[in-house]
Symmetry: C2
Subunit: 360 residues, 2 copies
Amino acid sequence: MTIRELIQQPHVWMTAGQESATVVSSRVRLARNLAGAAFPGWAGELECYRVWRQLNGLLAELPTLRPLVATGMEELSDLERGLLFERHLISGEQAGKGRGSGVALREDESLSLMVNEEDHLRMQALLPGLSLRECWRRINAVDTELEGRVTYAFAPDWGYLTACPSNIGTGIRASVMLHLPGLTLMNELEPIMKGIQKIGLAVRGLWGEGTEANGNMLQVSNQITLGETEDQIVAHLEQIALEIVEYERSARERLLEKREAVLRDHVGRAVGILTQAHLLSSKEALDWLSGLRLGIDMELIRNLDRQVVDELFLLIQPAHLQWREGRRLKPAERDAARATLVRERLKSAMKRRPRSTNNE
Amino acid sequence: MTIRELIQQPHVWMTAGQESATVVSSRVRLARNLAGAAFPGWAGELECYRVWRQLNGLLAELPTLRPLVATGMEELSDLERGLLFERHLISGEQAGKGRGSGVALREDESLSLMVNEEDHLRMQALLPGLSLRECWRRINAVDTELEGRVTYAFAPDWGYLTACPSNIGTGIRASVMLHLPGLTLMNELEPIMKGIQKIGLAVRGLWGEGTEANGNMLQVSNQITLGETEDQIVAHLEQIALEIVEYERSARERLLEKREAVLRDHVGRAVGILTQAHLLSSKEALDWLSGLRLGIDMELIRNLDRQVVDELFLLIQPAHLQWREGRRLKPAERDAARATLVRERLKSAMKRRPRSTNNE
């Protein structure tokens, strides 16, 4: 299988289904560098290419990564890079790289590796729901296999060396993607997010650093990679995630109790707009999809599966939209194609389950 | 029949049905005062009461007004005044009056008379569609009958005398209520309205002076009452109304041709929000009802009668809403009751005509 064939399939975390309503997905990534080679930012194209060839060959041998697909970045079109980025399989930075950088994926997309992004190697495990320990177990297995075959840049006093000092030590970043519409509708999100930042965690939007919390989706991740073990970092984030889940649960309970009309209005408008609009910006679509997801989770909408909505979160993104249409779309064309896709998907999904909404 | 019984019925211009899509209604009113009595603003309560008793007795005799219902303002509750105001049968100023002022209505509500508002007598004819000449014919007949029974305040050089100099002369104000969503969506409304003001006509919102153009409804009326005959004033306004109708028709044509997605999006959102929201402010409801009305007129919505929408324009107003509920409602309760009314009316009307919208 090639990467081209792979991205024709739905992503594992799109189709995983009945996980936690609030923790959408979990992710653990490790940053590693090879001893004796300059970091990608300092290396020339030739040295980068040598590292890519070496790692590409090694990765293909690792049992934990099988079946693997891999490609040099220069082989990928802009659209294909966009698809990988929107699926959280490569970073925005990697999407801009060319010859000398590459990407390797386990076919189920649960494991993905970037070569010569900021570090020689960035490897991540991505799974649906709250599964940080399982992500860590899987990516640790890849790391252990690889460590038997290469010499990592490592200093006894510092741990793993990385291009940016913020990753030094364990090189680990663990994150959870959280869906928090209840806290948003109760106007309680901001203080909680500020509290989370105070205890040293980072809060970002749906597509990482500098992106907005569209669709009430927020990524929470560790900032500190030094002075704690990987197990401690993962356990700490898991504990915080469970606390936020509890805040969200309580917000939804109080929403139903004290602001039921606001809740039903929000969910109703989500249904009304997404099934009837003919132009939808990405931000507006995400925000109303969030309302739909909330309505399903709170059983105000009974004729729609959450999976249909979760797939749409991804399918309405620009690259996925253009890939489905088979051509480049101008922004105004995208808004029309996005609205058509959402309208048709929702109407056909709701027709399959004709029990009307409970939101009367 | 009493006024109390009368306002339990739908208004004539709500139920008139298939008139022009753009000219919703026409209105002609005359201001008259009795010779030898002070204007209401200068008269004491006793003198006002005397004028009201005299006119009340006279009006009951006029053949053109039969069957007539009449009442002193002090007999009406706040809610009843609100109902009359929202139906355009009394002014906001009259709604605030008490003993000494009164209102008389022909039972079909096509003719209404206020006693001791700003003038001793304000009488109007209100009919659906573009029917200024018929309004003028009817109110002129009332005026002629009355002139045989009282002596009006009249000066040969000035014409009919009125409390405010802006009404002096003919005392006539003719107006049309226009629905202009096409010009709004094409961003062409403002220059046209400015042009109209330049030629000496006044532009106001749905409920007269100082009100906003909610629901894309605008009232256009003559400002000048002196130096032209009533026939000239009516004919001039009719000509301007026909020109605006033509502008609106052209805007809708170009909208379909050049901005079809914007049009379908607007109409679709109107359907989606009005059938699904659980909280609607008056302004938002009016604006989306306008979208629904446009969709029906342009045959993008085929499973709904315009009459259902036109009735809702009135029924969602605060007094009508509270009258239906049989109790006072706080603003937040009104938003919920308004959304429920709109949702249920539209869903049941659309069920009666199951052909789905053409807006796919």
